[in-house]
Symmetry: C2
Subunit: 161 residues, 2 copies
């Protein structure tokens, strides 16, 4: 973090959601996402591009990059819970099953803890595929910028506990 | 993982690199990467798009999504070390400093451990910016598909210890 305006709020109650709050978001992943991830990173792993090789591998077919899958959690925290201005401080993710182009995945976050002295929230993070298989599981710590939080509407789809 | 061909190799010595082996990869991140990440995930966090709001925030200016930064580690493991066929089983990452469009970041992996019974490698993972600031630090566990490993050339930039 760079130097920044001093945050004068006494509590971050408005920017840290209550324990037990949940939000979820679904998206169909496509081969276009594989190409976007490659353009963004340089990752041209043949398991994402070579159908014959992917078929011969343990994966059995083309899979998307893990970063395509986990990216849906970036969207949940930035768009929904905690909301705009949120960035990951820490992520601990286990990739449990492959995701294939064409599948619809659902990312869910559950608030495990919120600090009152800082706009910091600990989340359980889970992504499932359209068969209900958990493809990613873990936790994340999110920091939400108070200025962005104050200036943006927080019309998120969070469900109170 | 789905059902797959039985792996008959007795050792994964060819697919698990020696402890101490390193590889690194650099890339300039751009505002096009922010847009790719948004198209791929739906993350339209204003800290990536609104210069005035970003300036007023703790970040001080537009930043790229953490997934843009960490994606360079996907490229290192898939393109270099361990090499093609590698996927993350587990990532534990701390995001220590913001990355801005225009910066060149360098991702480095260092082999901390390799299993001989499975093609599994534990890596220290670090990303620095062009000022040498560590922007991401942590560890990852990678599984490398033996069929893909056997069939692809492994001309990687790994430096033996």
């Amino acid at each position: 973090m760079t130097t920044a305006p001093v945050d004068r709020s006494e509590s971050h109650a408005t920017t840290t959601p209550a324990v037990g709050t949940r939000a979820r978001r679904s998206r169909q992943v496509t081969s276009a996402d594989i190409e976007r991830f490659t353009a963004m990173t340089g990752d041209r792993n043949p398991v994402h591009y070579d159908p014959d090789l992917a078929r011969a591998s343990r994966f059995g077919a083309i899979i998307v990059q893990g970063g395509v899958t986990s990216g849906l959690l970036n969207a949940v925290v930035a768009e929904q819970l905690p909301g705009p201005g949120s960035v990951f401080l820490e992520t601990r993710w286990n990739y449990l099953a492959p995701v294939r182009p064409g599948q619809t995945i659902t990312a869910e976050v559950l608030v495990l803890g919120s600090r009152r002295d800082k706009p910091v929230t600990r989340l359980r993070t889970t992504i499932t595929d359209d068969d209900g298989v958990v493809v990613l599981d873990g936790e994340a710590v999110v920091w939400r910028d108070p200025v962005v939080a104050a200036r943006t509407a927080t019309e998120h789809a969070a469900v109170q506990p």
